[in-house]
Each structure stands twice: as C-alpha cells, then as structure tokens.
C-alpha cells in the first residue's frame, strides 16, 4: 500500500533535510499513527505520499504506483486512491454540507445520479444526515471535521490520510473522530493519521511510527508505544 525505500528529502530552497533515509512499509488495511513534534518531517512524509513533493533520493510506492515514474498527468489518479482529511477542515463556506461532499465527486467526473445516491449514504455513515443542508459555519468543529471525513470517503478511496484531524477540535470530539476512522478502517480502508497528541494515540493501541528530525526513530505495533 505504502512503501518508502531509503527515502531522503532535501528542500532546494533552504537546504533543510526534511527526511533522512526513511524506510517504511504500511500494508493494505492497516491503521497507523504517524507521530512527531513540529518540524520532525511528518508533513514532508504526507506531501511525498500525495506526490506534492518528490524525494531527493530513494523510491516510493503508493497503491501500486511507483511515484518517481508517475507523470504529472497521472498524479490526479494517484490522489483518487486516497482521501485527505485536513486539520483546518478545508470546507467551502458558501456550499452546504451536501454540496461540499458532492464537490469531491464532481471533481472526478461522477454522474449526478451517482452523486445523489452516494452523498446521503456517506453523510449517514459519519452521522450528519440531518445536517446536509447546513453551511459549515453552522456546525461545531467536530461536525466540520466529520464533513471533511465524509468528503475524503465519498470517492471510496483505498486509503484515508488524516493530517492532524483533531488539531482544531476538543478532546471529546477528537476521540469520536478517531473512533470513526477506526470504524472506517474495519471496513477495509487503510488509515494513516498524522498527529502529535500522544494521549489519543496511546488510548487506541494501534501501530505508531515516530519521526524525529527526519528519521524514523520507532515503529511499534499495538500497545507497545511509549510517548517520547
């Protein structure tokens, strides 16, 4: 699903070594937390997976695609295999909840009839069926993050990548969001959650990859994780 082989990334603009000889393997159907302090290299790790950046050396395979060989024209098709959840939700304020979710389907050319069937199903899955006609400003932080999650899920991706999904919501809601991601994972979707909230990570007992100064310093399974 995701395979990093000796990946290093040096930004040409400032010479910063964001990742240093990183090798990671994440199999299909796994739930993995990526933890690390600010500037540890987590964002670069995600940017490389999404092919927003290219590695300076090493090779990356995501959903059977060799990213170094992937042409710019094929990048959208890589991104269709993943759903992204952002820390700041990134919802379009002038659109309703329904329209925000439908927008992701329109962008990949889905038919109106398919959209009409799929969006209510997904909104029901994230518990927002009754909020379909609300605008993001009318929702709480947790609800907005659920909309963001619904948008990530609606195109039925093989993998969900959540970048600090609980960064802008209260602890109770944070727990609910990770719980929801766990439910989605149980249905077969690979889930990758980037976070720095150690308590939350510990309480779920999943695989945890810790990155520090661009290196993987620990990769623990289940409840072996000890926050550093």
């Amino acid at each position: 699903m995701i395979e990093f082989k000796n990946v290093s990334k040096v930004y040409a603009s400032n010479g910063a070594h964001a990742l240093d000889n990183v090798s990671i393997n994440i199999a299909k159907g796994e739930f993995v937390f990526i933890v690390g302090s600010s500037g540890a290299g987590k964002s670069t790790f995600l940017k490389l997976i999404m092919r927003e950046e290219q590695p300076t050396s090493g090779s990356i395979i995501v959903n059977d695609m060799f990213l170094e060989r992937l042409s710019r024209r094929k990048v959208p098709y890589l991104r269709r295999t993943m759903g992204i959840v952002f820390q700041d939700f990134r919802l379009i304020s002038k659109m309703t909840v329904y329209e925000n979710v439908a927008f992701a389907m329109r962008c990949v050319g889905k038919k109106s009839s398919t959209i009409k069937k799929r969006v209510p199903y997904i909104l029901d899955l994230v518990g927002l069926a009754d909020k379909a006609n609300d605008h993001p400003s009318e929702l709480s932080g947790g609800e907005q993050q659920r909309v963001s999650l619904a948008r990530a899920l609606v195109n039925n991706p093989a993998m969900i990548i959540a970048d600090e999904p609980t960064g802008n919501i209260d602890p109770e809601m944070s727990y609910e969001i990770i719980e929801l991601l766990s439910e989605i994972n149980k249905r077969g979707t690979t889930v990758l959650v980037v976070t720095h909230e150690h308590e939350l990570v510990k309480s779920f007992g999943k695989r945890v990859i810790t990155i520090d100064e661009g290196r993987v310093i620990s990769d623990t399974a289940d409840d072996e994780y000890i926050a550093i």
Partner: protein, 299 residues
C-alpha cells in the same frame, strides 16, 4: 456530459461573480475588434475605389488659357494624330462653367461667362492601350499649348499609397490592442482564479485533473471572446453603414457594403475572440496549475 454541464455552469458563475473585470476585458477586446474591422473595411473600399478609378480609361487634357477656340479645336486634330489616342472629345469652356451655374448663382455665373470664364478649353481623351499610358501622356505634355493633364490614375496612385499607410498603421495599432486584450483577459481570469484558489486546492487534493480545473476558466475566456465578437460585428455594421452613407455624398464610387463581407468578418472575429479568450485564460492557468497543496493557497 454531466461534468461538462457542471463545468459550463461554473464558467458562467465565474463571469457573473467577476463581472466588472469581465466587462472591462470585453470593452478592450471590442475596441480591438472594431478597429480591426474598420481597417479591413477601409482597405477593401479603398482597394475597390482604386480598381474602379484605375480602370477608367479617361484622361483630361487642359489647354493654355491664351488659346482661341479655333486654336483649341485645331489641337484636337494633333491629339487624335497621336498613335495611342483613340478619341479626343472637345470640352468647350462655356460648357464647363455651365455645370456650375446652379452653385454659382445667376449673377456670378453671368460674370464668369465670355471673357471672365476661368475654365480653359479641354479635351477628354481615350487611349487604345493603357499599357502605353506613360508614353502617351509624355507625348501630350510635349505638345505646344497643353497646360496640364488630369488623370484618375494619379488619384488611384495616391489612394493606393494612402491605403498602404492605413494598412501599416492599422497593423501596429491592432497588434498593440491584441496584446493589451490578452493581458487584460489573462488578468481578469487570474483574479477569478485567485478568488477560487481554495476550491482549486481542494479539487487537486481529491484528484481533479488539470483539464477539469482549467475548463471553467477557459469557458470564461471563450465567453469574453464570443460576446466581444458579436457586439463588435453589430457595431461595425452600423458604423460602416453610416460612414459609407456620409462619404457617398462627397465621392460617388461603388462602395463595398458591410453586408458583403459580414460573414467573413464575423467568422474572423469569432475565431480571433475565441483565440484571444483561450490564450488569455491558458496563460494565467498554466503557471497556477503547477503549484501544489498549500502553495496554491499562498501558505
């Protein structure tokens, strides 16, 4: 098809939300197209006039003032004796002044008849072979008693050089306006794009292709081009009609009406409008689409 309908709707939404800049872009493009059309109409008509004048095989030979009528009539024989002269029709100076009787009024007309007549005796000559025009004119000029020669050919030559000057000036003005139009359309669309940067970043993150992102902006450019083309055609229709009517009162030549070239000009305008619209939008989109993630949002 569903996507295409959605993208067209988005393109029109962009136009409405960014209507002031769109109107400015349409205004500049209309100016450019109307000027282009006017230059074309002018060139077509001047060329027609030049052809019609150039083909007129009549040259007027004015004789010296001091020649008596008898001497003037005798000159006709000399003219007819020239190799290339087919006909030489005598124009009495009394007939020449009569043509102005109405404009001059009876009193002035009377004073200008007889010895007060300012017109000289003249001949209207027709040549056998226009290719020997210059040699024949030289031979006439060499004759005693010939004051001047007036030929439409000279008018035609002057009009031709005027037409070349107009064409040259039009070319540079049109080129400058085309560049300005391209710049304004590209900036109009860049503004729309900037206001949609948030949506674009989401589109790219969910896997929209660059073509999908691009289409609404290209539609915006094409609509600007099409509207400008249609309005320009209408404006040029009325403008050239009015100008031809006004000029016809002064110079009676066979003019080419706008309707004769309307479809060519409309086709050209539509093509140019669409081309400028598409190029303008592509110029602004291409650089923007190379950005990724937060770069799109300027973070």
């Amino acid at each position: 098809m569903s996507s295409f309908g959605y993208l067209i709707k988005e393109g029109f939404k962009n136009i409405f939300n960014n209507r002031m800049m769109t109107l400015a872009a349409i205004g500049v493009l209309i100016s450019c197209l109307v000027l282009t059309g006017s230059a074309i109409m002018l060139t077509v008509n001047v060329s027609d006039i030049v052809d019609s004048v150039g083909d007129t095989n009549v040259t007027k030979v004015f004789l010296n003032d001091d020649l008596s009528k008898l001497e003037a009539v005798y000159k006709g024989k000399e003219l007819k004796a020239l190799d290339n002269v087919a006909e030489a029709d005598f124009i009495d100076k009394e007939d020449s002044i009569k043509a102005y009787r109405e404009q001059l009024g009876e009193e002035i007309f009377e004073s200008m008849t007889g010895d007060g007549n300012p017109f000289p005796y003249a001949y209207s000559i027709t040549m056998n072979d226009l290719s020997q025009y210059d040699q024949t004119i030289a031979a006439i000029r060499a004759m005693d008693g010939v004051a001047s020669i007036s030929s439409h050919r000279e008018v035609a030559q002057k009009l031709t050089s005027l037409s070349s000057l107009i064409t040259m000036m039009s070319f540079w003005i049109i080129l400058a306006l085309a560049i300005i139009s391209l710049f304004i359309i590209s900036n109009t669309i860049r503004m729309t794009m900037f206001s949609h940067r948030f949506e674009i970043s989401i589109m790219k993150s969910v896997g929209a292709t660059n073509t999908f992102v691009r289409v609404p902006f290209v539609i915006e450019g094409v609509v600007i081009g099409l509207v400008s083309a249609v309005v320009s055609t209408g404006l040029l229709y009325f403008l050239s009609d009015a100008v031809i009517k006004a000029v016809k009162g002064i110079l009676d030549f066979p003019y080419t009406p706008f309707t004769d070239v309307m479809w060519y000009i409309t086709g050209g305008f539509l093509g140019a409008g669409i081309l400028v619209g598409v190029m303008g939008s592509m110029l602004s989109i291409s650089r923007f689409l190379r950005r990724e993630g937060n770069e799109i949002l300027g973070w």
